[in-house]
Point group: C2
Chain length 107, copies 2
């Protein structure tokens, strides 16, 4: 008990849930918003901007990165994170098709 039984759901359902999980923590939403606001794309001021420890931010970035939402390149000493806009759009589309499909079938 305690673990989600992901094997009993369809792939589509698990995918939607996995996408939503990325956005289900305010730190990750804040990180994504902050990265997108910096049009320079230069990063880990994220730690200063958001009030969390560096290790924690790094952990959240890993989750965002695992969803393929980031592109990172080294710029001097520091890593420059950038939003993968295509992937971001893809997630938005998947979410919207779930929303639209669900809405339209309803009573």
């Amino acid at each position: 008990m305690g673990a989600s039984k992901i094997d009993i759901y369809s792939n589509e359902i698990n995918e939607i849930a996995a996408i939503a999980k990325v956005f289900s923590h305010p730190a990750r939403v804040a990180i994504l918003q902050y990265i997108s606001k910096q049009n320079t794309c230069i990063c880990n001021d994220i730690v200063d901007e958001i009030g969390l420890a560096q290790a924690t931010i790094s952990q959240h970035l890993k989750i965002i990165n695992d969803a393929k939402l980031l592109e990172g390149t080294f710029e001097g000493k520091s890593l420059c994170y950038c939003l993968n806009v295509e992937r971001f759009q893809e997630l938005q589309s998947l979410f919207n098709s779930f929303f639209n499909q669900t809405k339209s079938n309803c009573c």
Copy 2:
């Protein structure tokens, strides 16, 4: 430690995260999809349809309901759950404006 520090984020950010949390579990996505598919709107076959205990489904329904996504009326002995389409659409819009805003600001 362990608890999310929701006080350090803006309301908008917390709202997006809270919405996403509803969809972040496959059982809840499946429930929403199932409710919408039943154009009759008659319900707790949900327990049979999805392979989870009645108590667990009821718990998930509570979370969906707390997000104001359900309308429930009694029909004889059984409760008839229905998707609150206006609210559903509202969540979709909030999500989309976050997506669009984030996308457009990026490098």
